[in-house]
């Protein structure tokens, strides 16, 4: 904790600059391109997909990749390419949703916890310790099972699992920002803690939170797929990647493309987001290096 | 006249950054004779620390470009040596003391062990002998309980104590040159005085030449014989400390002496230097100090060479002429 965060955050100014710096590194530029492509594919799925992701054609079940069905079809003859495209909507959308939920709640809790201290801090941090004392996938499994297996509950479970990361990060940053002289200055003016937290602490702890969000996106998408694979997330016939593999698994030896291509979609998506996360971190927060990495 | 330990000749050095090459030293020249204490004085961005690190070749190789010039240590150019040759020189012939005694020591090793490793590296002696040498090294930097201190970790010691350890490390091989990079800046005044006395005493005892980097004119006046004044990566003036402090020749040195209040002086009005320190990326084409100089004239738009006789040299077009007194 040597360089104060505020000194670092002066490094960038404005979105255009950020974009320029992001694309300066070849790896990161590749990641940006991949992420943009994936998001576009997900958004445009209804127009790009050759077929509905749920329309059944029993006569064409388990057909190999062809000009008509680029990735082949599944066990009831649904077009796999279309299902994977629609799957991107679910993975990216739900992933983003649960990370943002965790980040929002975590930032607020952590910022107040860090600045205010005392019993609120103690209480919040002990609660986070409990959440952190479980391997996150196991906790996510338990929570998702307890809430009842469906996509929404899986997203909620992941948000809960990710929450302590943000609370801790926000709290640590809030503590170090509180030691900055501008916070002391604001106190000498006679300003209250509500003003100080919202005007001084939170704006300055946003950069590391943004970094953490981009770092977590890949992991979250992975968690959703894993829960889906274990039957704790989206349920068939929803075109969710993990759930698709848990069904397609049976056809590994004879129709290898079915689970393999679906898994490749997960892999590429998660890798693109992770690469982007690394790039954003190196840019905005050079002090923090890889930490943890993944949870599932 | 004694032989030079170190000669820096027309050293021009740049850093590779995301924004392109930044030239941090421009034609820096000075020398240090055996057993002599030379002060390298400047403000931030003047290049004083860069010069020191370049001499010991401690700058990161990937981002440092020596554009021209030489750094001769005992007659050999440091810039062209191999890393293996350099390792023979670092520590053994050139000792180095850093500004922050807090971070200059390995936090996970006792002070004694750190000294032991370095001493065994230099002298290749047995453990037992090394242990005795550690003891002596600690005594030499005036640590009264060497046994106790040797068993402690850096974080258990005060800043002054840590700096003594760093000095003991640097002096352990009895080097010909000691580079002290702002060794007292992070310390309290009373501790600073002790450390200065220590460095001075060790240098005298062992005949070690010292390159002392500082921004504090008071410190220079107390322990150095000659000084080199740097501004924005250039030597603007160099010469014996006594002469420069009495009769500064460069407008920057003169302005600096008038701008810094000294304890021994009261009543003389302070004269602030107008303007800000220059941005190394956008230096003026001529004299680097010209934009802030009260004696600026047309000629100052071309770069003045460092001219002088003997030990004294000044980079100013006014030098040798009568400067209008202001």
């Amino acid at each position: 904790m040597s360089t104060p965060i505020v000194a670092r955050s002066a490094r960038y100014g404005g979105g255009r600059m950020l974009w320029k710096q992001l694309t300066a590194n070849r790896f990161t530029a590749l990641a940006v391109a991949c992420v943009v492509a994936i998001v576009l594919l997900a958004l445009l799925a209804p127009w790009l997909a050759p077929d509905s992701p749920t329309s059944v054609h029993l006569s064409q079940r388990l057909s190999p990749p062809s000009a008509r069905h680029w990735f082949g079809t599944d066990e009831v003859g649904r077009d796999l390419f279309s299902r994977i495209l629609y799957g991107a909507r679910i993975s990216v959308g739900v992933g983003l949703g649960s990370v943002l939920l965790a980040a929002l709640a975590g930032t607020l809790l952590g910022a107040f916890s860090g600045y205010w201290g005392r019993w609120a801090d103690q209480g919040i941090m002990r609660l986070m310790d409990i959440l952190l004392s479980f391997p996150s996938i196991v906790l996510a499994m338990a929570l998702a099972a307890a809430l009842g297996p469906n996509l929404l509950n899986a997203a909620l479970a992941i948000a809960i699992v990710k929450l302590p990361v943000y609370v801790r990060l926000a709290r640590a940053e809030a503590l170090s920002i509180s030691r900055q002289l501008f916070v002391k200055a604001a106190r000498t003016f006679g300003l209250g803690s509500g003003w100080i937290v919202t005007r001084h602490i939170i704006p300055n702890l946003l950069p590391p939170i943004v970094v953490q969000i981009t770092l977590d996106l890949g992991d979250t998408i992975l968690l959703i797929a894993t829960l889906g694979f274990l039957g704790l997330g989206a349920q068939p016939p929803t075109p969710e990647w993990g759930a698709m593999i848990s069904v397609g698994w049976k056809y590994l030896l004879d129709q290898w493309w079915y689970p393999t291509l679906t898994g490749a979609a997960i892999f590429i998506t998660v890798m693109s987001f992770n690469l982007l996360g690394d790039g954003v971190r190196d840019l905005l927060d050079p002090r923090r290096h890889e930490e943890g990495g993944r949870t599932s | 006249m004694t032989e030079s330990v170190l000669q820096v000749e027309e050293l021009t050095l740049s850093f590779r950054t995301a924004a392109g090459l930044i030239r941090v030293l421009r034609g820096v020249s000075f020398d240090i004779r055996a057993g002599e204490l030379v002060g390298l004085v400047g403000e931030s961005g003047s290049g004083k620390s860069v010069t020191a690190q370049a001499v010991a070749r401690l700058l990161p190789e990937e981002t440092t470009v020596v554009e021209s010039g030489r750094i001769l240590f005992a007659g050999r150019d440091v810039c062209t040596m191999t890393e293996a040759e350099m390792r023979e020189i670092r520590g053994r012939r050139i000792g180095y003391v850093f500004q922050e005694p807090m971070t200059a020591l390995n936090p996970a090793m006792t002070v004694g062990d750190q000294l032991m490793h370095v001493i065994r590296h230099h002298h290749g002696c047995s453990r037992r002998e090394a242990r005795q040498r550690v003891q002596r090294a600690l005594e030499e930097v005036l640590i009264h309980q060497p046994d106790l201190v040797a068993r402690q970790y850096p974080f258990e010691l005060s800043g002054g104590m840590r700096q003594r350890i760093v000095i003991a490390l640097a002096m352990s091989a009895n080097p010909a040159l000691l580079i002290a990079d702002e060794p007292t800046t992070a310390l309290d005044v009373t501790v600073q005085a002790e450390i200065l006395k220590l460095i001075l005493r060790l240098a005298r005892q062992h005949g070690t030449a010292v390159l002392f980097i500082t921004h504090d004119l008071g410190v220079v006046s107390q322990i150095c014989e000659r000084m080199v004044v740097l501004y924005a990566g250039e030597v603007v003036e160099r010469g014996p400390v006594r002469e420069i402090l009495r009769h500064p020749n460069h407008p920057y040195t003169r302005a600096l002496l008038r701008a810094v209040p000294d304890v021994a002086r009261r009543g003389e009005p302070l004269q602030a230097i107008p303007g800000e320190l220059p941005d190394l990326r956008h230096l003026p084409p001529g004299c680097v100090f010209a934009p802030r100089c009260v004696h600026r004239m047309e000629r100052c738009d071309t770069r003045p060479p460092l001219r002088g006789s003997g030990d004294t040299a000044v980079a100013c077009w006014w030098s040798g002429q009568e400067v209008p007194n202001r």
Binding site: R126, P135, A142, L222, L252, T260, G263, N274 | P107, A108
Partner: protein, 324 residues
């Protein structure tokens, strides 16, 4: 701490499973069960009593090593888990060793040879590891080494034709070596290759990333410069100065990454049909067997807390600032 955490987590999962989704008896019985069936399940589970009594009963049982009775197997959950535990331990242990032995040197190499081919290779490898779904990498390995090449077995701990070694520790490789069942020894090692590699890849990547970054951070510290200025050799500085200091944060991360190892074991065991706790819990999930799921969660939580206790002890040994 352990007690506190277990208390907290049982509280969380218990109330979540009992309060939020409505009636667990209804869920367990399925949508078409009659009211009578549901009532009997409620009585059987003690669901007709007040919630805090139920929780008290559960905690009381937990203190006595009683995790309830599995709905699916009708066996005490603790017995089921005990039976499956050694298989999981064996898998996790080998994966962990593999990850440590390869991850730390690779991370050091990447940091020391920064921005060279070595570094890029290590970064690509580790990026893959943090991005790959375990169920997919397992699947690809099976397809390649079992289905295509036929080199390695893809399921179970031992060929069905071989009798398992006498139980001492429950770890087949250890037991067979101790009792001289060499056929079992090699066969069980053979079976371990694919699942252990699959599982360790994730942790390996985390370790590589962490070692690389903390090495880079430490190598940039001033005391490394002091060491260089004092003429110490590069190898000595890397190992005794840099790695020694880099290990402190690394050990924390390794401890935390065991979490992903334990979590990954669930998926790996499913993929390779490995008869461990993970396989057991996945089957329990399929039949919404709450006592089994909770029992598994509690056991894993306890193991995780114990591991992190060990990490704290290692910290104590490595970091003089904590020791003094």
């Amino acid at each position: 701490m352990l007690v506190f955490v277990l208390f907290g987590v049982t509280l969380c999962t218990f109330f979540m499973s009992h309060v939020i989704p409505g009636d667990p008896a209804q869920m367990m019985a399925g949508p078409h069960a009659s009211a009578d069936t549901i009532r009997s399940i409620r009585r059987q589970l003690g669901l007709d009593r007040p919630l805090w009594v139920q929780y008290g009963t559960y905690l009381w049982g937990l203190l006595h090593g009683d995790l309830g009775v599995s709905i699916r197997t009708q066996q005490p959950v603790i017995h089921d888990l005990a039976a499956f535990f050694p298989a999981t331990l064996e898998l996790v242990l080998y994966a962990f060793l593999l990850a440590i032995v390869t991850g730390i040197p690779l991370g050091v190499l990447a940091a020391v040879k920064r921005n060279t081919v070595w570094d890029y290779a290590a970064r690509v490898v580790s990026l893959g590891g943090v991005s790959v779904p375990v169920f997919w990498s397992g699947l690809v390995l099976i397809l390649l080494f079992y289905a295509r090449l036929g080199w390695l077995p893809a399921s179970g701990r031992l060929d069905p034709s071989l009798p398992p070694p006498p139980t001492i520790t429950g770890l087949y490789t250890v037991d067979s070596a101790l009792t001289g069942y060499w056929a079992d020894f090699f066969n069980s090692l053979w079976h371990l290759v694919l699942p252990a590699v699959t599982l360790s890849y994730v942790q390996l990547s985390i370790i590589v990333r962490q070692v690389r970054s903390s090495m880079l951070e430490v190598l940039g510290k001033e005391f490394i410069l002091t060491g260089r200025a004092n003429g110490l050799g590069r190898g000595f500085l890397i190992v005794r100065y840099a790695l020694r200091n880099a290990l402190v944060p690394t050990i924390t991360v390794i401890g935390l990454s065991i979490g992903s190892l334990l979590g990954g074991a669930v998926v790996t065991e499913t993929v390779f049909d490995w008869p461990g706790m993970g396989n057991y819990v996945v089957q329990s999930i399929a039949s919404l067997d709450f006592p089994a799921i909770m029992g598994f969660t509690v056991v894993i939580g306890a193991a995780y807390v114990l591991i992190n206790l060990v990490v704290d002890l290692l910290h104590y040994a490595l970091d003089p600032q904590i020791r003094r």
